[in-house]
């Protein structure tokens, strides 16, 4: 195979960057109107963060029940082409309705079209490493299917951790594993771009006094989300420190949000609600457990949210107003939370056997650097700036580039979906203008 | 299923409507508002479409009661729904009387699309009534 082979050129109407729920919504809408869409996703599966969630507030529908059919609709839409494991490297605007984009597809070492997802390679692989899709709670193999409802639900080889023993290849019934695969570059010519690159979660290592990373029973909310999801790492909710069934769980809200001392002054908008949701789910999963939520203000503002919050109170979830100051660990793995009970006005200490840090939403940096000749402006918090927020919320500083979902700021799932719809609408009118 | 009948309460057949009362019954589940598992629903477009013979069939086949979760004034097919559903009920009740059945085994109430609690209350009290009347 010649490495110097000239890169392939592809042509589409629209490039959607990011295959999460917002990008997916935009892609489907555009494809339904007949536009050819290329969806690039840097991860191995589309579906974004939502596909990894347990249930969604305030209806408690399972997240998978909403994402999986959507993802499957995207996957089989004749007007949508999906590139997973693919990064956007460079975007150059060549003129109105003309963009040239360099994308780079990392080798998966598995031919997607041949893999049946039988998992024999997974069984054969001797290597066990930390599973990032379970947020480090459990291991996975170096030959693996990301998670059971991934799309495409096919294997991939984690080459960083692979010993190249070849066991996977030998058992593969369809010979789809191929270590000769290499990176592939493409030049994509499109007329418009939708940026739906989503968000990052706050890394609680930045708040050492909460002990995340040091105390094993201090989790992030995403780790708890995984524990509650149908494709969960354990058979039920357990303490990662020693496998104990927790019976007294604390939630620390505003971890990394509304906190200038960690550089994020804004509210993440979703943490209150997902914590309340998890509390309700935990009450179902562990009927004997006490749940305490340490909060500053409960931001239950959306349709049905406040009712959901009141419902949690009625169910017996304890709400304590006060930001947790520090967490210390006891010998038995239990944790002592020090906080001021603001209603009582006194400093208190409380013991819990598991602590969930409700981590905030941060911008997914990087996409703005990809633009070559025009600047994709960011807002003061490094989310993508909406240049005409009130009349055309999907517009960015570059004409022809639109933003969908949490790439422009924290928002919940319904808002992301509406924003995805708005981005596709704006893209449609932009494309129509060309044909006029 | 052979043998072991787990649910032995009064069996109630509910005629719900696709757009109005069925969503309310769905929401009752969503909110985990419990009601007897011997309540079964058949969803139809509009409550005024229930034929008396279906009701009689159900009662004759072993249902203890039939509950029509009517659209009421929310009916997307027009205002005459309430009146027409009422006619169906009165006709059927007459037929039930003729056959020697207790007409109270048929019940109707308007269930709006978010009337989950009223629905649960209705079927619970209906079930209670049926239990008492079958014992007496």
């Amino acid at each position: 195979m010649n490495m110097q082979e000239p890169r392939k050129t592809l042509e589409y109407d629209v490039l959607v960057i990011g295959g999460g729920i917002a990008g997916g919504e935009s892609a489907i809408n555009l494809a339904n109107l007949g536009y050819k869409v290329l969806l690039v996703e840097k991860d191995l599966s589309i579906g974004g963060k939502m596909i990894l969630l347990s249930k969604v507030f305030p209806t408690l529908d399972c997240a998978a029940c909403i994402t999986t059919p959507k993802v499957s609709e995207i996957a089989r839409h004749p007007n949508i082409t999906i590139f997973t494991g693919t990064e956007t490297r460079k975007i150059t605007k060549k003129g109105e309705h003309r963009f040239e984009v360099d994308i780079l597809q990392k080798p998966r070492y598995v031919h997607i079209e041949d893999c049946t997802g039988c998992q024999l390679c997974e069984e054969a692989c001797p290597v066990s490493v930390t599973d990032e899709y379970q947020y480090g709670l459990v291991g996975r193999k170096a030959a693996f299917i990301p998670f059971s409802i991934a799309s495409p639900r096919v294997a991939a080889i984690d080459i960083e951790n692979c010993t190249l023993c070849g066991a996977c290849e030998r058992v593969c019934p369809t010979n789809c594993i191929d270590f000769t695969m290499t990176e592939e570059e493409f030049l994509v010519k499109v007329k418009a771009i939708v940026v739906a690159t989503g968000f990052n979660l706050f890394d609680p290592l930045k708040i050492p006094r909460y002990g995340y990373g040091k105390f094993r029973n201090v989790l992030t909310s995403m780790q708890m989300e995984r524990q509650l999801a149908p494709t969960r790492p354990f058979n039920t909710v357990l303490r990662p420190g020693d496998g104990k069934l927790p019976d007294n769980i604390a939630y620390v809200l505003c971890t990394g949000s509304r906190d200038k001392s960690v550089g994020n002054p804004i509210c993440s908008q979703i943490c209150c609600m997902y914590s309340i949701k998890q509390a309700q789910l935990l009450m179902g999963a562990l009927p004997m457990a006490d749940i305490t939520i340490y909060y500053l203000h409960i931001r239950a503002f959306g349709k049905g949210f406040n009712e959901f919050y009141v419902q949690a109170q009625d169910m017996g979830v304890e709400f304590v107003k006060g930001k947790v100051g520090k967490i210390t660990e006891k010998e038995n793995g239990n944790l002592i939370l020090r906080y001021e009970d603001v209603e009582a006005g006194t400093v208190q200490e409380a013991e819990h056997d598991m602590v969930v840090l409700s981590v905030g939403v941060l911008p997914n940096l990087g996409i703005s650097d990809v633009f070559e000749n025009e600047k994709l402006e960011l807002d003061p918090f490094n989310f993508i700036n909406q240049s005409d927020m009130l009349a055309s919320p999907a517009k960015t500083s570059i004409e022809g580039v639109f933003v969908a979902g949490t790439a422009s700021g924290p928002m919940d799932i319904p808002d992301s979906i509406l924003s995805g719809g708005a981005a596709s609408a704006e893209t449609t009118s932009y494309l129509r203008r060309e044909s006029l | 299923m052979a043998g072991g009948k787990v649910n032995d309460g009064p069996r109630i057949l509910v005629f719900s409507t696709d757009k109005i009362s069925d969503p309310a019954i769905d929401m009752a589940g969503l909110l985990k508002l419990h009601y007897p598992p011997t309540v079964y629903t058949i969803s139809i477009p509009c409550s005024s479409a229930v034929k008396p013979r279906w009701i009689l069939h159900a009662l004759e086949q072993g249902f203890d009661g039939v509950f029509i979760a009517a659209d009421g004034t929310d009916c997307p097919y027009g205002e005459s729904c309430t009146e027409k559903t009422g006619q169906v009920v009165s006709t059927t009740m007459q037929m039930m009387k003729d056959k020697g059945m207790d007409p109270a085994r048929l019940k109707m109430a308007a269930i709006c699309s978010v009337c989950s609690e009223p629905f649960v209350n209705h079927v619970k009290s209906f079930s209670e009534y049926l239990r008492k009347s079958s014992n007496s």
């Binding site: 195979m1 069984e123 001797p126 290597v127 066990s128 490493v129 709670l137 459990v138 291991g139 996975r140 193999k141 080459i159 960083e160 951790n161 692979c162 010993t163 190249l164 023993c165 070849g166 996977c168 290849e169 030998r170 593969c172 010979n175 594993i177 191929d178 270590f179 000769t180 094993r216 790492p233 354990f234 058979n235 357990l238 303490r239 990662p240 420190g241 020693d242 496998g243 104990k244 069934l245 004997m288 793995g333 | -």
Partner: protein, 98 residues
């Protein structure tokens, strides 16, 4: 160069050096796996019991054992008397699959 299908790992092995920690990690995993499975062979145990017996931190036992559970070597058993910990047992390799 055309590489024979099913034997491509060898091809890459020639070009790509395997980092030392990858092989060490594999050794470590194989070792703890053996230890855990041996310990469970005697009887069903909880994680604190395994940790004490093997002299490993409980969180490490938890992580490895849950991985083994995921890979199908181990399954969850009863709860202990205090309703705190589950017992884990060896999976009979699908023989008893009902």
């Amino acid at each position: 160069m055309e590489v024979e299908k099913g034997k491509t790992a060898k091809y890459l092995k020639e070009k790509h050096e395997i980092p030392k920690q990858v092989t060490e990690h594999l050794k470590y995993f194989t070792k703890t796996k053996k230890m855990l499975l041996n310990a469970l062979r005697e009887e069903d145990k909880t994680i604190p019991q395994l940790a004490e017996e093997l002299g490993l931190p409980a969180q490490e036992v938890m992580f490895q054992l849950m991985s083994l559970l995921k890979y199908g070597f181990v399954e969850t058993g009863e709860m202990d008397d205090m309703d705190e910990y589950f017992y884990y047992k060896l999976k009979s390799n699908g023989k008893n699959k009902s």
